[in-house]
Amino acid sequence: MALDSLFLVCAGGFLGASARYLLGKYISSCWKGNFPLGTFLVNICGSFLLGLVVFNPFLIETLSRDMSLGIGVGFLGSFTTFSAFEYETLQLLERGKKTMAFLYVFSSFILGVFAAWITKIINFSNSF
């Protein structure tokens, strides 16, 4: 582990967690439904962006190894979250909202994997 990559993972972790917190706060101020929209959006967007970092030929060529670690493992790894996703599913089940829990879990996985997959299939470099 080089020091540069460790530093960038730390910086990414700080920014990713803060961004998730701020976005969650903003979304919960305007979205009052039971569906955990904040975590959902963060996880789908983060899956798409990590897909770009890992699969996009232009980004693979442009970003140094340390930078892709900082962005991919640091920022996007911390921006997206799995524990809150499971905790929110648990809360929905505890409140008897089974359909909502099912919808949350399936849409998160299907759209998350789709968002990552589309970056492998389509080369978005042309639009950079």
Binding site: S18, Y21, S78, T80, F82, S83, E86
Partner: protein, 136 residues
């Protein structure tokens, strides 16, 4: 201040996850590191929040740093999506298995964390009495 505590928790969470990645994800065609952090984090978050919301509610910076900051950053969803795509190109069944084990394992562990949290929470109330007992 709140952003700072979430951010600092995020730094520690990302570092801990990176360490486990390096130890467990390399040399394997199966992302054991990601699975490990997600399962452990799902258990811990449910446990911690169950205890904290009852006994640490007046320490909101600490609760935010540990839950939203540390545990949120320690676990990750984006890597799961990308790994599922990667595995699916060779072995779609393994990819689905990875997603299912992660999700159902995490949910089962979250329920276990909730249960253990309630036990610990009750014993704190017994010993110290009152909702905020034990943290004065």
């Amino acid at each position: 201040m709140k952003i700072l505590s979430v951010g600092l928790g995020g730094v520690l969470g990302a570092l801990a996850r990176y360490y486990i990645y390096v130890r467990l994800n390399s040399n394997l065609s199966f992302p054991l590191g990601t699975l490990t952090v997600n399962l452990a984090g799902s258990f811990f978050l449910a446990f911690f929040l169950t205890v904290a919301l009852k006994h640490l509610y007046h320490r909101s910076f600490l609760v935010l740093a540990v839950s939203t900051g540390f545990t949120g950053a320690f676990t990750t969803f984006s890597a799961v999506s990308v790994e599922a795509v990667n595995i699916a190109s060779n072995n779609p069944i393994l990819s689905l298995t990875y997603l299912a084990v992660g999700f159902f394992g995490g949910l089962g562990l979250a329920f276990a964390g909730r249960y253990l949290g309630k036990l610990v929470s009750a014993s704190i109330t017994d010993k110290f009495g009152g909702e905020a007992g034990g943290v004065g």
